[in-house]
């Protein structure tokens, strides 16, 4: 029973990174400039590396034929536990950066708590990942400031992206049953307690970027429990294509 919950919790952790990694991977060869293209795909690679660690641990719990690949590739849409934020499309560079920034700040706070987890595997993964994610936060924060406090056009595009994406931010802190279990048993953090830190860090960077959070926001919840947006189907069609078309194929 405990192992089952831990398995579900590992999926929570892995799915966010995986779907965001996939979104960033779509940009390979399409970044606005070479260096940014490489940076975004590097971040994608970091995220996928972290996902492999989570899913290898999950596969061990599940046993049988389960591997990191079957867990990643062979679930149905409603079985993925990622938030709405990471499945949002790459509408333009402003959306890519703001989505990244909103996630990175959460990711950094989360990993800084996971290094205190009672689960040794999670501690090891978090200690490894945090070094990489510190870089991600630097990258996205720098771009938020540069574009927010840039030209009139870049500012407007950034503000639009902030207004669009902020509604998906609070889902990160809306604990599911499994995340509540993790908090109560010392495996994961109490997400609610992280929220004020998150908001103040986001506001700090946005302030420097001369951007503001929208005043009245109706926050969106539900993706974590499997009610994904339309985007998710399209992501999975791309993502799972090879395994669905050629079952058990190997690289």
């Amino acid at each position: 029973m405990l192992q089952e919950k831990l398995y579900e919790y590992l999926l929570h952790l892995g799915d966010n990174s995986m779907i965001l990694g996939q979104r960033l991977g779509e940009l390979c060869g399409h970044g606005p400039e070479l260096e940014t293209d490489i940076a975004l795909t590097n971040i994608s690679l970091d995220l996928f590396g972290q996902v492999r660690n989570y899913f290898q641990a999950a596969a061990q719990i599940k046993g049988g034929d389960a591997t990191e690949d079957t867990i990643a590739m062979l679930r149905y849409e409603h079985e993925y536990k990622n938030v709405y934020l990471v499945e949002q499309p790459n509408d333009d560079f402003a959306h890519v950066i703001v989505r990244q920034f909103f996630f990175d700040v959460y990711h950094q706070l989360l990993l800084n708590e996971l290094i205190k987890s009672k689960n040794e595997t999670l501690v090891a993964i978090a200690k490894k990942s945090i070094k990489e994610v510190d870089y991600h936060v630097d990258f996205s924060s720098t771009w938020v400031k540069r574009l927010g406090d840039g030209t009139e056009v870049s500012h407007e595009k950034m503000q639009t992206a902030v207004n669009t994406l902020w509604r998906y931010s609070m889902e990160l802190f809306n604990a599911t049953e499994v995340e509540q279990w993790a908090a109560e048993s010392g495996v994961g953090p109490d997400l609610d307690a992280l929220k004020p830190f998150y908001i103040s860090r986001v506001e700090e960077v946005l302030h420097e970027a001369t951007l503001t959070l929208p005043e009245e926001t109706v926050f969106q919840y539900g993706a974590k429990t499997g009610r994904h947006s339309e985007n998710m189907g399209y992501i999975l069609v791309d993502f799972q294509y090879m395994q669905r078309a050629y079952p058990n194929m190997k690289w």
Binding site: E35, A39, L45, Q50, K127, E132
Partner: protein
């Protein structure tokens, strides 16, 4: 440090990072432990970055290096303690520099270079410290891209990871 025989050390030293062929995995500090159990060498290696695509190849290369010497090896990937650039040996740092990759300095130096506060990373082409960071992310996860303001050559810098 590692408790291994000279023969095994030499064998492991012959395996290098496929992305940076001049750098032996021993000098990179990714071999953490070698145990000999029931006729098989169990080699613990740790990734530099979680998503480093070279890890699988390195694991395969170690196994074949052992096989070529009629020995058996098994690879075990360990995550803790997490790898740091401090584990790159002096010899490794020298090999990097000779290859054209500036060796990692410190987190403070990285930050100063990023913010353009201080020019401390030495150009691997002309030796000038009048250099700038072009991108925090380079050709592989472990490198950042720099350019020399004097000779204008671009070069890689091995990011400091602590």
């Amino acid at each position: 440090m590692l408790e291994i025989s000279e023969e095994i050390e030499e064998l492991l030293r012959s395996v290098s990072d496929p992305e940076i062929p001049v750098l032996s995995i021993m000098d990179m500090g990714i071999v953490r432990k070698v145990d000999f159990v029931d006729g098989t060498y169990k080699v613990d290696i740790t990734p530099t970055y979680s998503g480093c695509p070279a890890m699988d190849t390195i694991g395969d290369d170690i196994v074949s290096a052992f096989n070529n010497n009629n020995l058996h090896a098994k690879i075990n990937l360990v995550l803790a303690p997490a790898w740091t650039t401090d584990w790159i040996t002096e010899r490794g740092r020298k090999a990097l520099e000779d290859y054209g990759i500036a060796a990692p300095r410190s987190a403070e130096v990285d930050k100063a270079a990023l913010l353009g506060e201080a020019n401390t990373i030495k150009c691997t082409n002309c030796g000038s410290v009048n250099t700038k960071m072009v991108s925090r992310f380079g050709s592989t996860a472990c490198k950042a891209l720099f350019q020399c303001n004097d000779c204008h050559e671009p070069f890689d810098y091995f990011k400091c990871l602590k």
